[in-house]
Symmetry: C2
Subunit: 149 residues, 2 copies
Amino acid sequence: MRVSSKTDYALRTVIDLALHMDDGVSAAARIAERQDIPVKFLEQILMILKAGGIVESKRGAGGGYFLADPPSHISVASVMRLMEGRLFGPPVSAQRRRAGSVSSSKELPFEELWANVEAAVAENLEKISISEMSDRVRKHSHTSLDFSI
Amino acid sequence: MRVSSKTDYALRTVIDLALHMDDGVSAAARIAERQDIPVKFLEQILMILKAGGIVESKRGAGGGYFLADPPSHISVASVMRLMEGRLFGPPVSAQRRRAGSVSSSKELPFEELWANVEAAVAENLEKISISEMSDRVRKHSHTSLDFSI
DNA sequence: TCATATCCTACTAACACGATAGGCATAATG
DNA sequence: CATTATGCCTATCGTGTTAGTAGGATATGA
């Protein structure tokens, strides 16, 4: 069970934007080099983030991206949910496709199981905001004299 | 974030074995038809479950599989961990492969994040036993007159 | 000795993922 | 107004993982 790179990149991007709010907008290329993410891949991620209402953009020369809301109002969960869909769910197996979306009664215990786990994950990620994450990143950069971020 | 079919099948298999403990051992073919899992695929899963000490087997004619421990002593977490490895972890991206396993200081906030989530998931799955799951399945089969399991 | 099992390895088709590419649309700037 | 810097959009591609198949060796009970 691993988080996708896309989600990881998205999270880093949003945190990066929080860390560079003072600079005004950030061009995709700048974010990409700061976070070491393939530019064109990042562009796609930024499109999703924009469609999801997490970032906004300014087009044309001197344009770029910026957070749609204050970092303290953006949860890690909201970013993850946007990128991953369900935070923790059952497989969409061939077997399940065969059966259609007929949720047989013997599926119920499983659905309940996954729903509980997902709730636990959500509870955990909902209360961590992007500002907390950026604070932590800042702190770790300072204590280790690593200013590359 | 979806659980793999393999894990799903494994869980169903273990629960199935719990439900059919009285019948003695269950041949892979019997489990496969009861749970509608491709037989040969199931065989591989059973090998993993055996290697992981969750089931034991009896070879030859009249042989089959059975649980190595009482269902109440087997947690959903143990099955999942065996099949999935980490319950919830960071991606192993190309970027990360480039950097080697050099856990840079700015990775720490992320590692902490994932570790917390994984702990939450584990806590949740650790306390659900296979006997609880099989009880639930039995209950749902009865209330809906669906005896096919 | 035959039927019924597990056990083991190799292979394959389909799909998801990570990434790349190219070009259009828009806006600032000289 | 031309140029340049940017976002926006779609298509494509390589690779690895996943889900599933296949075939046979090995063991055991009748």
